[in-house]
């Protein structure tokens, strides 16, 4: 496919109005697209930093080093550090199952893995409250045994796992399907053990799309709001993640502090975008292959 594209691109387009838009139309289209992007994407990002810094750098630094903000930061990092590795293992298992074997109900399994994408984050939180909350199905049993899930770390981890469940598998499956299994078959035939084959062949082959999936999974895990808001109970300094801290400050009319904490998350988003772009530039071929099949 890529050959065909480059072939058609290399042909000089004829200089007729029937093949191109006139310069005026072109300028109008570019202008409209860029204006729309500026209003809907660029300005929201700019205003986060403007509002955060409006009372000066000292106020800003105080807002982000305040104890509640620091504990929110720690919790956010902790949740991501638990959720991302689990989802990586589960995602690899899912894509190995789907991209390497043929079995009945495979399409159903693919749809089920994607299911969390079409479930509201609030519902993702609600389901765990219904199971593990005080009045939930397992609530009384959990209370007897002194186990806290809702309004505690395990609930936040579960809700975050739900919303980020598809990310890794989604990037890996098309890539593994494109690669095919000949490399792995060769390794096995030459006497490599299954785990050797996995760590020396499969993993290096799919590393870029795996990294891509990890990046997206991590961004969502750190930024998740709706699902976490429902299960966290928003106990200040204990179960508030950074996005929840933003909401608490905002609702207390501490606008500047809210935007200061928000700017940390916006900064994370910028790093994510930069890393994503770098991955796409350097490994354009492999990523294009997997995008194309997704």
């Amino acid at each position: 496919m890529s050959k065909m594209i480059s072939a058609s691109r290399s042909q000089p387009a004829r200089n007729g109005s029937a093949l191109r838009e006139s310069n005026a139309v072109k300028a109008l289209l570019i202008g409209t697209a860029l204006t729309f992007l500026a209003l809907f994407l660029f300005l929201p990002l700019v205003i986060v930093f403007m509002e955060a810094l409006q009372r000066g750098l000292t106020t800003y630094l105080e807002a982000i080093t305040e104890p509640d903000a620091l504990s929110a930061m720690r919790l956010t990092l902790l949740v991501a550090a638990i959720v991302v590795p689990i989802n990586v293992i589960v995602g690899i298992a899912g894509s190995w199952t789907i991209a390497r074997f043929d079995f009945r109900g495979k399409n159903l399994l693919v749809s089920l893995i994607d299911l969390p994408f079409s479930v509201s984050p609030v519902i993702a939180g609600l389901i765990y409250v219904l199971l593990f909350g005080a009045q939930g199905y397992f609530g009384p049993w959990l209370r007897e045994h002194g186990i806290e899930i809702i309004f505690a770390l395990p609930g936040i981890v579960l809700a975050t796992m739900f919303v980020t469940f598809p990310f890794v598998a989604r990037e890996l499956i098309p890539h593994m399907e494109t690669l095919g299994s000949t490399d792995e078959e060769a390794a096995l035939t030459l006497g490599a053990s299954p785990w050797q084959t996995f760590f020396k062949i499969t993993l290096p082959n799919v590393k870029w799309s795996l990294l891509y999936g990890v990046l997206l999974c991590n961004a969502r895990a750190m930024g998740e709001f709706g699902a976490v808001a429902v299960v966290s109970g928003k106990i200040r300094g204990v179960t508030t993640t950074l996005p929840l801290q933003v909401e608490i400050l905002y609702n207390e009319y501490m606008g500047t502090a809210a935007f200061a904490v928000a700017s940390l998350l916006a900064f994370l988003a910028l790093i994510t975008l930069a890393a994503k772009t770098i991955l796409e530039w350097h490994y354009a071929k492999e990523i294009a292959a997997m995008r194309h099949n997704s």
């Binding site: 029937a18 074997f101 399994l109 079409s118 950074l242 935007f259 998350l265 910028l270």
Partner: protein
Amino acid sequence: MSMLVKTGFRQPSILPGFGLSFGVIITALSLVVLLPLAALFLKAASAGPSEIIAIASSPRTLAALRLSFGAAFIAAIVSSIFGLLIAWVLVRYDFPGHRFVDAAVDLPFALPTAVAGIALTALWAGNGWLGTWPAQYGIKIAYTPAGVVVALIFVSLPFVVRSVQPVLADAQQDVEEAAALLGASRLRAVFGVILPNVWPALLTGFTLAFARAIGEYGSVIFIAGNIPMVSEVAPLLIVIRLEQFDYAGAAIVAALMLIASFVLLICINTVQSWSRRKLGYV
């Protein structure tokens, strides 16, 4: 592949690890996704038919569902139009900052929704940079259903751009040349030859955008104003019911949302496969 005789559950393979990987994914999927979702429907059903009907047909529930689905639909349409335009501009034209703009399209994927919510509210409030301008004509955006639509456009835009972009990039320019040689005007070539090929991808993008927007909560609650019956979205109603410890009420609204969005997605997928068949792809 079709030569192999299907024996039982899966086709034989020399690759190892089916049992382990299948076990891991099914266990995780069941524990994290399927069983909890089943608990939701169980809880909703446990309320009994009369209560289910009472909650499902209450004006507040209906208003919230109407707003969530309606605003999501409008936002997905706006995102589809501008998303198609942005994809076209990114694929076909070169301009300064092209790479930067291309990367920036993914911002809503990366920016946490709560951050987007407070930023959009600050922008579109009556005294905000963008809100002052409609405010002169007495139009309020923030704290009205229009604000909900603005937030949903933000979260749904990249789904359309990223669905359409690869298809536009792959489109063979020789069909355009053929159209031109046969005497079609540029406008006719674009609308008669290029866009029909993009249609399935655009519909995919619309579906993803719509599905995401229906359930959106974080970016919406800051800008919506959250007035019951007017600007209260369905996910917020679920949170309110939950805060009142009305678990059954929350579960019923949630189950209604899930059922409605799955029915819609199935309908859109049917149109999708129909239009793909009609256009000759499988």
